[in-house]
């Protein structure tokens, strides 16, 4: 994998880009990169925990269900400011909007629920915003996690899903 860009934006936020293969060992290295990026830019550890879990869900979905274990490219952009951390994940797998999937039935015994759906539900609960678009042959998932404000407890993402082909 490679970190292919890093820039400081005028409004005081920092952006970093990576491109990597859709493989679990690259996923592990991406997590290390994100941890280092967050640590370097003083992202609170609670937010880092949430971001790391959310990324694991999103990236493993792309690897398993998007690319179906075939080789593909994934691009990740992280932008951090004092107020928030934005992640954008892009892949070229067939169109797949994870936000369309139903939420898990939380009344059921956790061991009896149908598999799937838990991962994206966790992402929506941990992040403050989740958006999906399909543009120019790419699935694009944007995750936003607020970093400031005592009221920023991730109790539910405002999820929007749009499909454009």
């Amino acid at each position: 994998m490679s970190a292919i860009g890093f820039r400081e934006l005028r409004e005081g936020s920092i952006e970093k880009f990576w491109r990597f293969r859709s493989r679990l060992d690259d996923l592990a290295r991406v997590q290390e990169e994100i941890e280092a990026f967050c640590a370097a830019h003083h992202v609170p550890v609670e937010a880092l925990y949430d971001v790391r879990t959310a990324l694991d869900e999103v990236l493993s979905n792309i690897i398993r269900h998007g690319y179906r274990e075939a080789e593909g490219q994934i691009a990740l952009k992280a932008r951090v400011s004092a107020e928030k951390l934005l992640l954008e994940v892009r892949d070229q797998a067939p169109p797949f909007n994870p936000l369309e999937f139903p939420e898990p039935d939380l009344l059921m015994d956790v061991g009896n629920r149908p598999p799937g759906n838990m991962g994206i539900y966790i992402v929506r609960r941990l992040m403050d915003g989740v958006e999906y678009t399909y543009e120019s042959g790419e699935n694009r998932l944007r995750l936003e996690r607020r970093l400031k404000s005592p009221l920023a407890s991730p109790g539910g993402a405002s999820a929007k899903g749009e499909s454009e082909t």
């Binding site: 609670e46 949430d50 694991d56 493993s60 009344l107 061991g111 966790i122």
Partner: protein, 128 residues
């Protein structure tokens, strides 16, 4: 972050042995296959009481939850008990999001688990 799986034994308050599985590091998409592999002998073994100690576990994702659910269900299917203890706050947060307590036995600490077991034993022997 890698995953470390350590299996040991301890004695419960009633004097009977408990298998303790300590999971440390990260239980996620990349480490769950390894976890399943390393836990297979314990699942196939004869222990009737298994404590999964998460004190050293820093990260978990739904793949990791799948491992814990699989362990709980497999043990329950052969009549063994499984308790999960010492989850750090960020792990508890994920448990709460998915309502993991519906179906898995979660205790905040090994002491809380032992207190619970002692209370059960007192009830059974008529002391409570």
């Amino acid at each position: 972050m890698p995953l470390s799986v350590q299996v040991s034994e301890r004695q419960k308050p009633d004097g009977l042995p408990a298998t303790v599985i300590k999971l440390e590091g990260s239980l996620d998409s990349t480490t769950s296959p390894q976890a399943n592999q390393q836990l297979a002998p314990t699942l196939a073994g004869g222990s009737n009481f298994v404590e999964i100690d998460l004190a050293g576990l820093t990260w978990i994702s739904s793949a990791g939850l799948g491992v814990l659910i699989h362990v709980s269900k497999t043990l329950a299917a052969r009549g063994a008990q499984c308790f999960i203890t010492n989850a750090q706050p960020q792990i508890q947060k994920v448990f709460e999001i998915v309502q993991a307590a519906k179906g898995m036995s979660l205790f905040s600490s090994t002491k809380e688990l032992d207190d619970y077991l002692e209370a059960i034993q007192r009830k059974m022997t008529g002391e409570g």
